[in-house]
């Protein structure tokens, strides 16, 4: 097998180990799944009627934004998982084996996709309960879910890197908030980017989180021809722009994280 082939193989083994651990401590899942439900309900009922958007029900507008924010927050688990792994004795075992140097990271980012799959499922159900509807084709909608997952996967590599930098698991949540809050709020997730003032608006328009949200909105058919996206390239081509960012993030953060892993593990 090639080096890449072995990297996938070894990453797969580590991912299986992580899944086993989730199954053994299922309490973690409860917390993973409660916050998406809470988000959908809070936004739907607290802001649902107070933020008017011309020609569109706010809840319809909102759901894609909540989906995007939640799966990006899911990356926090990746950061915490890596930070925790690094403190455990098993890392010394991993390091002394002739296995791929990327396996711990590949395995962690892969197994964490499960969290996002589950939270998307839960949010979809909660959303449907509060009146959200998929108005396009099912295929398109599935494409939207897939894009969200792919983007979240890429983003989990950013948090994996952060997880390797922090000295302990406790620090990771605060570190994540510093990264995640700005990118998910200065975007079109909760209000249309047009509503934002000057520089924030430009940031929001070029923010990949806006693009993935816009792409999901379009995929779910939660848009209105009367309310077209702003005339900027990222939001006019949200799928392409999102995938571009996915590529950039992976190309930058996979090697960066693998290098940091080797350094951190050698302490």
């Amino acid at each position: 097998m090639s080096r890449i082939g072995w990297a996938v193989h070894d990453g797969h083994i580590v991912a299986l180990r992580n899944v086993r651990k989730i199954r053994r401590v299922p309490e973690v899942l409860v917390f993973v799944l409660i916050s998406p439900i809470m988000f959908v309900l809070l936004f739907a009922y607290v802001f649902g009627d107070s933020i008017p958007i011309a020609g569109l029900d706010y809840r319809e507008f909102l759901i894609a934004g909540i989906f995007a924010q939640t799966v990006i927050f899911g990356a926090t688990f990746t950061g915490a998982g890596i930070a925790e792994d690094m403190q455990k004795g098993i890392i010394d075992r991993f390091r002394s084996l002739p296995m791929s140097r990327s396996a711990v990271l590949v395995g962690r980012t892969a197994s964490d996709v499960i969290y996002n799959l589950l939270s998307i499922l839960i949010m979809t159900l909660t959303g449907l309960l509060v009146g959200w509807r998929i108005r396009g084709s099912l295929i398109d909608a599935l494409g939207g879910f897939l894009l969200l997952l792919v983007f979240a996967y890429a983003f989990s590599w950013v948090m994996a890197f952060v997880g390797l930098l922090v000295p302990s698991v406790e620090v990771i949540n605060n570190a994540s908030f510093i990264v995640i809050f700005p990118v998910t709020f200065i975007a079109n997730t909760f209000v249309p980017s047009e509503n934002l003032p000057g520089p924030l608006r430009t940031f929001a328009e070029w923010n990949p989180v806006s693009a993935v949200t816009q792409a999901a909105r379009e995929a779910f058919g939660n848009t209105n021809p009367a309310l077209p996206p702003p005339d900027v390239w990222p939001l006019r081509h949200p799928v392409a722009y999102t995938l571009l960012w996915v590529g950039i993030i992976l190309v930058v953060f996979i090697p960066l994280s693998v290098r940091q892993y080797q350094r951190a593990a050698a302490r």
Partner: protein, 329 residues
Amino acid sequence: MPAVIEARGLTKRYGHVTALDGLDLDVPSAQVLGLLGPNGAGKTTAVRILTTLLRPDAGRATVAGVDVLEQPEEVRRRIGLSGQYAAVDETLTGYENLEMIGRLYRLGRRRARARASELLERFSLTDAAGRPVKTYSGGMRRRLDLAGSLVAEPSVLFLDEPTTGLDPRSRVTMWEVIRELVDRGTTLLLTTQYLEEADRLADEIVVIDHGRAIARGDADALKAEVGGERIEVVVRDTDRIGEVGGILETVALGQVVVGGQGNQLTAPVAGGPDTLMRVLRELDAAGLELLDVGLRRPTLDDVFLALTGQPTDDAAEPGGGAATEEVGP
């Protein structure tokens, strides 16, 4: 024959602490080297460098003919390592830990599973195989960790303080396991704080302190330098100490020394428990009463005292490496 483990001038500094200071080691094929030293002597640092987990600041090393710095991956394929702290996953079961390691050695699923079961059996962990490791005792954890290091049947093995923290019974079990591996021809580098352990397991002993070798040789040579086992008695009636001394002199290899508050006698002996029994029988027959009696074997601290004229740095610490060793069964 060239050495299977060869290190030259290994040096490692942490800030102003010199963990290793030009250490040389040679372990011939199928031999056991005991790296003996107190806490902080540099044992773990040496093991981590030889097993590619750490890069030295200076020096070089080869393991199984492969350069540790140039081809770490190749070295990892050939060695097994059981570190000072058990490198096992607490949430997984013993079986799952070993299976995972087998698959990461790329044995394939079937062989990894077979190997896991085989090793669990060999290390008497079959009954606990399906339990999460966090329910294991210290001894079981160490055995599982050792099993993990043997998954790929390495011919070179590194064990970093394999029995520290184990109760006497687990320690003896561990010794048996290690002995068996060595009998099969494994080349072993073992670190320990116990002279008795090095004596039992090692063909050659290197005593290290502050990252430097301060003595080398086989156990007998070392003990000759330090002095072997001794019988110590504390008599009840100091008036009759002469009689007790007379009996001890019949078995003593050297001079019988008076110590304590003039009521303690120490005699260098050979023959261990048998000799002790003989002495006790004679004392009893003569109606001599004792407050205390014991067979003392030299400890790491005795070695340090003999070699450096000073006790180990941590001799005063409770539970430190220099605590008096129990006499093994």
